[in-house]
């Protein structure tokens, strides 16, 4: 297995979703971005999200699309470098029209929070204390 992963998620309005994730600080790879999909860089060379318009996403599956505001199939969990990065991303997501489904969880050695994007996809953010 190679070191790259692409998380394909359906979105209602590609431009609005791009603006949302831009506001969180994520960039896009123009080579893999067009009017049907946008390649969001989470970690260069390893982790990407493909935001796909619903009609384009539909071409890849033989089932209906889950309306993520109504039901959840996946939680995409990203590691963060600090507690501040966790809180900062959630604050930016809420300011950009997302929402947070719950308060942060502070376990001392681990700090987690989450946001829901414009389409209802849930992103978990976790900071873990470096191992002693």
């Amino acid at each position: 297995m190679n070191k790259q992963i692409f998380v394909n998620l359906p979105v209602k309005d590609l431009d609005k979703s791009k603006a949302f994730f831009n506001a969180l600080g994520y960039g896009f790879n123009p080579q893999f971005t067009n009017e049907s999909g946008a390649c969001m860089v989470i970690a260069e060379g390893s982790i990407y999200a493909m935001l796909l318009t619903e009609p384009f996403f539909k071409t890849f599956i033989d089932k209906p699309i889950v309306q993520a505001k109504e039901a959840t199939e996946v939680l995409v969990c990203l590691s963060c470098e600090s507690r501040e990065e966790v809180d900062g991303l959630v604050a930016k997501a809420v300011a950009a029209g997302g929402h947070t489904p719950r308060p942060p969880q502070d376990h001392g050695f681990m700090y987690a929070h989450a946001f829901e994007d414009l389409d209802g996809h849930i992103w978990e953010l976790v900071w873990m204390a470096p191992q002693a």
Binding site: L9, L78, S79
Partner: protein
Amino acid sequence: MSKQVIFNLPVKNLEKSKAFFASLGFGFNPNMSNESAAMVVIEKDKISAMLTTEDFFRSLIDKPVAQAKEANEVIICLMCETREEVAGLVEKAVAAGGRAPHPLEDHGFMVTQGFEDIDGHLWNLVWMAPA
């Protein structure tokens, strides 16, 4: 520390799902596994899937759990190192009770095929010729 991603996916029967991913050749992180969840290591310290019982998954969200055999929210796409790895993984997935919704697509410089795991979650496998 490099960025890590973990996909939390709800499963109906944790033991069966563990057996499914084990038969595809994936290992597990025992430190992050218990009776409610099992961590499948896709790329060590970088990419993992957390197979989570539906009950536990539900405790993490404020919405219903999507039934992935009926509708999908996500397609997880993994890059493979060879053309053979793409077909090999799909073959193992089908043999282990999964499903291949589409035939293999061979575009010469790129080969792709997907499989559905035993809970209906979609995995797409892609090999691309080195640039």
